[in-house]
């Protein structure tokens, strides 16, 4: 062991001989770190829960439908409304803030899909490659549509699970050629199973998806769209983003105030966005409280260390007489503050995570324990120990050994 290590060990031995003093010193910091780590654990849990809800319900997606306000009711048959065009989609993409992915969508029922002696009648969608992420879908086998499929107007299709089962009961759909309205299409992929929508009307598994260019030029052979779907970067911005899109499309379609629109913007319910809002306000408040507690905890350590320097001036003088350099003394007191702060942080982070996990288990809050609160506590307490330990350590190094050894009391 070198000199610094010996001094560090000596500090640990000294501290372990006076645990009640250490407990008193670290208390404030422990409270601060406990609140801080509970906020982090609950914050991360809440974020994760909301991200899960966003994934599951597509809360970050807004859909624009062709046709007017009557479209609140889901259309049972496709109408030939020629109001939405691809330029509208590009305008939304280019002009509306918080929109990161956009896909124009066409769809049509009554499409026949045949493989050898099997056939189904299903609904076909023409979409852009971004559609997969916007709708939170995924492929189970093969791949989704690509930009080069779009550019080539490729005759490729991704099949829903029900279509796949009907045509390929033995599996192995990917790579086969099926006939869609009598034209040959290569099966590029198969979607994961999704089931029906909440109302039980729309069957997500009973459909096929082809590139938008293919549907517009070949399969449906028409330019207008049924939908534009887009993703909003921040769930909390969904309502204002939907409003901006409404205004933009009204201008583009020449619809004055009070006139009925020829499109309909449907946004997801905003319940979770509001929940996220309250949670973040609350955690900002708790975060502020914990920062105050951390600073107070640091000040407590500093003041008790300053008191300890004057109480222990004789010890300092004695150590100097034994050969301690001024720098050894300041190192001793700095390490003492640092170790106390780290001990306070360790207890605090343990208490905070346990409390947050208990709240999570009781269903009062969402919690998720990661390494983050531990790293934050370590860094914060090391910084606090050093920052608030420097002043007492300097004072300790300045104690005059000759004067401090003069006193009479033992």
């Amino acid at each position: 062991m070198n000199r610094s290590q010996r001094i560090a060990r000596d500090v640990l031995v000294s501290l372990s001989a006076q645990r009640s003093r250490v407990l008193l010193m670290m208390l404030g910091l422990t409270v601060g770190v406990a609140v801080l780590s509970a906020v982090i654990v609950i914050g991360q849990g809440t974020r994760e829960r909301i991200m899960g809800l966003v994934e599951k319900h597509g809360l970050d997606m807004v859909m624009v439908r062709a046709g007017g306000d009557v479209q609140i009711f889901a259309p049972q048959s496709d109408r030939g409304l020629a109001s939405l065009v691809e330029a509208d989609a590009r305008a939304v993409e280019a002009e509306v803030p918080y929109v990161d992915l956009v896909s124009a969508v066409q769809n049509q029922r009554g499409i026949s899909v045949v493989y050898e002696d099997r056939s189904v009648i299903t609904r076909a969608f023409g979409v852009e490659p971004t559609w997969l992420a916007i709708r939170h879908r995924d492929v189970a086998e093969g791949e989704f549509l690509s930009e080069s499929d779009m550019a080539a107007m490729a005759r490729v299709a991704v099949l829903g699970v029900k279509v796949t089962r009907a045509l390929f009961p033995e599996g192995g759909a990917v790579g086969r050629t099926v006939r869609v309205n009598n034209d040959p299409y290569t099966v590029k992929g198969v979607f994961i199973e999704l089931g029906t929508d909440a109302a039980g009307v729309d069957d997500w598994d009973d459909r096929i998806v082809v590139p938008l260019t293919t549907s517009a030029r070949r399969l449906f052979n028409r330019p207008y769209l049924e939908q534009i779907v887009f993703r909003v970067t921040d769930v909390r911005r969904v309502p204002e983003t939907a409003e901006r899109v409404r205004n933009l499309l009204a201008v583009r379609h020449g619809i004055g105030p009070g006139q009925p629109a020829d499109f309909f913007v449907r946004e997801p319910e905003d319940v979770e966005g509001a929940a996220l809002e309250t949670t973040s306000t609350l955690s900002a408040l708790l975060l502020a409280i914990s920062v105050v507690a951390l600073v107070v905890g640091g000040l407590v350590i500093m003041n008790l260390m300053l008191a300890s320097v004057s109480q222990r001036s004789r010890e300092i003088g004695l150590r100097r007489s034994m050969g301690a350099r001024a720098s050894d003394i300041s190192r001793q007191f700095l390490l003492e503050a640092l170790f106390v702060a780290l001990a306070g942080g360790a207890v605090g982070v343990a208490a905070g995570t346990v409390i947050a996990a208990a709240l999570g288990a009781a269903g009062i809050a969402s919690s998720r324990i990661t390494w983050v609160p531990f790293a934050v506590a370590l860094v914060a307490c090391a910084a606090i120990g050093v920052v608030f330990g420097i002043h007492p350590a300097r004072n300790a190094a300045r104690v005059d050994p000759a004067a401090s050894l003069r006193g009479r009391a033992a």
């Binding site: 000199r3 001094i7 004695l318 150590r319 350099r325 009391a409």
Partner: protein, 239 residues
């Protein structure tokens, strides 16, 4: 071993000035037991602190083992305290929360090199002062005499050439005081240099030479008369 020449020390607090040392000169040879006597306030502790490199004189010269450290930095002076000097105080100055053994090992913390098994060295040092039992006791659980033995063992652990003792028997009863002086005599016989401050005539008689400090100057120097040597060997025989 120790050479001082014209040492002066002035304490200043505000406009209040106290000239404590007014030019102190003397020498101590290696292996000598020198006693510094003087009435209270004559500057004995001040002088000893300067000899111990805990304080710097305002003027004069001090050579410790041939080296002048008056202009040296804190690191060099601290290293010299650690290697060459051992202190014994009237108030023992033991760490209250540390066992006897840990108190004795403290100087090893500040040594340049690691000293191997510090516990073993501390046990040997305690043996040298005749305190083999109770190594795990706290100072508050030891008698005054035992506490001072622990303090001497601590002063010895780095094997210093010079021991500086400020009223080491001042807080002890006569019997314990005699025993502590026996230990010191042994150390000097073993080749160590000892400077001991006291105002007790009986204690002074155990030294080889007595310097009398008064009003900031050495006013007298006397070799201890021969009868003391006789007492000394009697006592040594009794230990």
């Amino acid at each position: 071993m120790i050479e001082v020449d014209g040492l002066t020390r002035l304490y200043r607090r505000g406009t209040l000035e106290t000239q404590v040392l007014k030019g102190v000169s003397f020498r101590v040879r290696r292996g000598e037991f020198v006693v510094i006597m003087g009435r209270s306030g004559s500057g004995k502790s001040t002088l000893l602190n300067i000899l111990g490199l805990l304080d710097r004189p305002d003027g004069g010269r001090y050579l410790l083992d041939g080296a002048d450290l008056s202009g040296a930095d804190d690191d060099a002076r601290s290293a010299a305290r650690n290697r060459k000097l051992g202190f014994v105080f009237q108030q023992f100055h033991l760490l209250e929360r540390a066992s006897a053994l840990r108190n004795v090992t403290l100087p090893l913390l500040y040594a340049e090199q690691d000293s191997g098994d510090s516990t073993e060295r501390a046990e040997r040092a305690l043996q040298a002062v005749g305190l083999t039992h109770r190594p795990r006791h706290l100072p508050s659980e030891l008698s005054g005499g035992e506490q001072q033995r622990v303090a001497i063992a601590r002063a010895l652990i780095n094997d210093p050439a010079v021991i500086l003792a400020d009223e080491p028997t001042g807080n002890l009863d006569a019997q314990n005081g005699r025993e502590i002086l026996e230990i010191f005599r042994h150390l000097v016989d073993g080749g160590r240099t000892l400077v001991l401050v006291t105002h007790d005539r009986a204690v002074a008689e155990r030294g080889d030479r007595v310097l009398v400090l008064d009003d900031g100057r050495i006013v007298g120097e006397e070799a201890v008369p021969t009868p003391a040597a006789g007492t000394r060997s009697d006592a040594a025989g009794a230990v």
